[in-house]
Symmetry: D2
Subunit: 337 residues, 4 copies
Amino acid sequence: MRRAKLAVAGLGRMGRVHAANVARSCPSAELAWVFDTNAPLAEEVAGDLGAKAARDYEELLADPSLDGVVVASPTPAHASMAVLAAQAGKHVFCEKPISLERPETLSVIEAAEAAGTGLQVGFHRRFDPSMLAAAERVRAGELGEVVLFRATQRDKAPPRPEFLAGSGGMFVDMAIHDFDAARWLVGEVESVSAQGALMSGVDDYHTVVAVLRFGARALGVVDVSRVAGYGYDSFVELMGEKATVRVESPFSAQYEWRSPGAASRPLVESFDRRYAAAFAAEIEHFARSVLAGGGFEPTGQDALAAFDIAVAAAESARRGEPVAIGASAGSQDSKPR
Amino acid sequence: MRRAKLAVAGLGRMGRVHAANVARSCPSAELAWVFDTNAPLAEEVAGDLGAKAARDYEELLADPSLDGVVVASPTPAHASMAVLAAQAGKHVFCEKPISLERPETLSVIEAAEAAGTGLQVGFHRRFDPSMLAAAERVRAGELGEVVLFRATQRDKAPPRPEFLAGSGGMFVDMAIHDFDAARWLVGEVESVSAQGALMSGVDDYHTVVAVLRFGARALGVVDVSRVAGYGYDSFVELMGEKATVRVESPFSAQYEWRSPGAASRPLVESFDRRYAAAFAAEIEHFARSVLAGGGFEPTGQDALAAFDIAVAAAESARRGEPVAIGASAGSQDSKPR
Amino acid sequence: MRRAKLAVAGLGRMGRVHAANVARSCPSAELAWVFDTNAPLAEEVAGDLGAKAARDYEELLADPSLDGVVVASPTPAHASMAVLAAQAGKHVFCEKPISLERPETLSVIEAAEAAGTGLQVGFHRRFDPSMLAAAERVRAGELGEVVLFRATQRDKAPPRPEFLAGSGGMFVDMAIHDFDAARWLVGEVESVSAQGALMSGVDDYHTVVAVLRFGARALGVVDVSRVAGYGYDSFVELMGEKATVRVESPFSAQYEWRSPGAASRPLVESFDRRYAAAFAAEIEHFARSVLAGGGFEPTGQDALAAFDIAVAAAESARRGEPVAIGASAGSQDSKPR
Amino acid sequence: MRRAKLAVAGLGRMGRVHAANVARSCPSAELAWVFDTNAPLAEEVAGDLGAKAARDYEELLADPSLDGVVVASPTPAHASMAVLAAQAGKHVFCEKPISLERPETLSVIEAAEAAGTGLQVGFHRRFDPSMLAAAERVRAGELGEVVLFRATQRDKAPPRPEFLAGSGGMFVDMAIHDFDAARWLVGEVESVSAQGALMSGVDDYHTVVAVLRFGARALGVVDVSRVAGYGYDSFVELMGEKATVRVESPFSAQYEWRSPGAASRPLVESFDRRYAAAFAAEIEHFARSVLAGGGFEPTGQDALAAFDIAVAAAESARRGEPVAIGASAGSQDSKPR
């Protein structure tokens, strides 16, 4: 049984999740290299997971036995690292968003096309077992015609200001997952109308709502917040004319606790716990696509399409009117003002 | 639209529930009289509910326009009051247990038969809307052959010692509801095998378990506790070869509250909140039976059968072996030792 | 115990619900009169509920012992009947919407003020026990600052075209309940931005989404559909910085049914089953306000405010941009185009 | 990072689960060998998982680099294979029951003690994440004194008659997991009183109930069935004087599907899906104990204790009276008659 030899570049929170999954949870992958600008961190992770720590990014790209690279660096470094990997003939798994700039996003897509390498983007929800099970029934026609998409996503507190500054704003950083889910489950979005409530003292929203139009018959609505003190949450509903399906955040353990006055269940506290299986499954899919030489999905075009919706949403929130997708493609300013 | 003219005799907790239901919630009933040995209490309830307070029990029985009597006095007074009502030609709704003595229970059944009056016993669960909806599907054959009956009943704290002393013990006071549900939903019980854990310092159990045999194919298991600090609870499962159905205690309100770490729902705290609709429905059924001149159910025989199981369970717990129903019919001692 | 003598005028679906509640479920009310232009229907309901059937509306208004009138006629007749009742010195409970025209709505408010009679509007959700229990905790500050209001409302099929034509459109007919809930739970709405998906062949939407702004800090989002084939649904979430609370549609019975492959619970199929307790409670509140001579709520001003939001939402959906509340007060056209 | 080199002997349903976990899901383990009397099956599994297929059991035991053996053969072969492994100096993970005979069970324990090797038994529930999370709160005292243990376990259909014949009966084959959970969560069982309903045409029960006594204060009740047509189920409740906790079977995916009349959730259909995480975790625990040279748990003594309860339960069901644990230790006949 051959396994795909992978490297993980960037060992922040998501990078470490990916590295552990490549090394331990993905039967089709093995972890050959890790890289981070923080060399001691890379050494430590490499030691824990039985991989080599690259001194620089070029070192790992130069390994001819390496099949693919998981790019999990901070967002500003995504595109250049992905392009280098493609040019070195490596398949690329790139965390979302590929870039905060549309032309740069395009450059990654073009580099992979030119090199004939695969490009998969980190929209992990497409690999969540519950989402997949629900999607399968939707595709089998059990919902009838879909008329409403509804998604909720929440974090318990805003990230640090430094992260926020480079995040691209709430639409590009968070809501983009819901926009990709909307495209995946319903189809292309024609226009978006969004509003946001501003954080005090920071140039970003704490809560946003975006209304999507998929055509004459279907609407979508997405609400995202970073001040949901109770914890992480993620919810997607797809309502059709025959039925509706609601994919919910699981509890962190499968028990009910009854004490005087209340029956309670333990909540999942963070996205990496909620989507643990999805993170492993997306990397396994990448590894299998590497071994099969194709089937990489979601694609760079999926990344671009979700990015365009996010940018249009940000523009809509700023301008106070609906924005057609495509119309805002030239704008790269996705911050509130 | 004629309404049945009813009296409520005994205005303890259950008596007041019944009086309010007769006066306000049962379209087929009206409250003519109330009676309690505590005269000021009777006056107060009568004033609140627009009824007359009888000076003594005989006064209300002497009212020729009175159709029926709801007997909700303390257990030792049930039988004599029920017999007097029947002899006065009134239909009788009697709280459970009719008596702690089998012969006395029989005397009530015989008095009603002799007088040609109806006799309905307060096994309210048979009127719970959820229980009824489930029972309807069971009767329609959706479960297939029933192989297991499972019931749980809990109170948050033992009653006062004075009440305990006259309660007949946990099997006769509490588990009797589960035994009636077992007969109603599955069929006759052939034998019972029970065990109990004793309260410290009191001659009764805090927790009991009873295993029922319905014949060759089906078993039942009932657990009842009086030290469930978290609150009141009541659960019935009926498992068949094709499906299973679980009737649960509802929450006290239909909302989920999420705060850091937990999603919680508010618990119902007492049996009268849990079974509020059932208490109203059993009295409405009694009133309709009065108006129709028949259809009283559950009957005195149902009361006797559930009582026999309860007494046999108590004997089984004492003797440490299964007891066949019928075999223990002569024994009236249902206390633990 | 004095009861308020009430009449119910208009015996359609809601009128019959109100009449039964006045006659049977509301301890502070009694049903003196019913009226409907369909005289045989009025006779039948009167017979069932022990009330008199008025030959015409004036007959019941002429009864000096009558305390109040529940106006449940078709919407176009609401205002004139409410005004006549107020002028006859009767307290008025009026179904929503009071009118499809703002001036006419105002005329009812003014008539009640001039006559010194009470005016309560049929926003029943304010009396739903689950909504009230949740609201109490919100008011006690357990949520912290509210940042998001989210509501969903669904019917399984559109009403008949004749009803639709006079309904005022989806915002005024359905979403108005969510707008009132938003005002009640969060506060005044400053602007609304709405979109709708059109039904084929009918001049109304099948599904709408409205985004609300309550000020700088809080947003709201409401989605309403008339093509939710699976059944009636109603959901309200209030998210604060410390916690979130979700009031859900209850199941129609409290049991879980497990058959091969699925655990299922029975759904409530219509708004009158979902809100049965709320419909009784709002009439009981009206009766108590009648007896107390005050405390009528929600008021005519509440009706006007929710109506203004609904009209603004309809205008926003038509124009494709947010509409400030107040700005659209002159427009009475709330149909999609 | 050193990994424990393990072999899996016996590649039936559980053996294949263990082999896949050793190879893919357990970071502290690697799969060196597999063995099955069905040589082509062993070759196939070895190929899939990157391990060697042993021609005979001795071949793998002879590998000096092998650390431990997972014994997952049919029950009759457990003991001899475990003894051989211990004698070869290998740590042993043995599926339950170790044997259907007490002396043989003891011989395995003694062989491991004599060889100084570890012995862990396959009571996987002790490693279920939900069970562990609940147990942690119980151990922290959040329940108060435990007064009731309640467990339910169900299969959708009886196994093939050949399997049944060698299974040891329902108490030893299935209920043993509940008995181990009872010991683990509450403490030693003093006596058991059991009853069973017989399958037609087969010398085993289709459904059994066992009542446990843990001492003066606590009772337990376990119901197990093999004719639960709706699917696999597993439930454990631990009720204390302050609270109760219920560990339930998770749904197979985290979504709710609403269609006309019902809201449904997908059920897990088999024990290996229900306890997938537990199966991986118990092997990871074994591997870590191998690496640490100690900490193997649950132990052979745990296996013996649960086996003794199961045998006593079978005897109680046969004799119709409670059986004290220890008293029945001499009996190895655990079939119904």
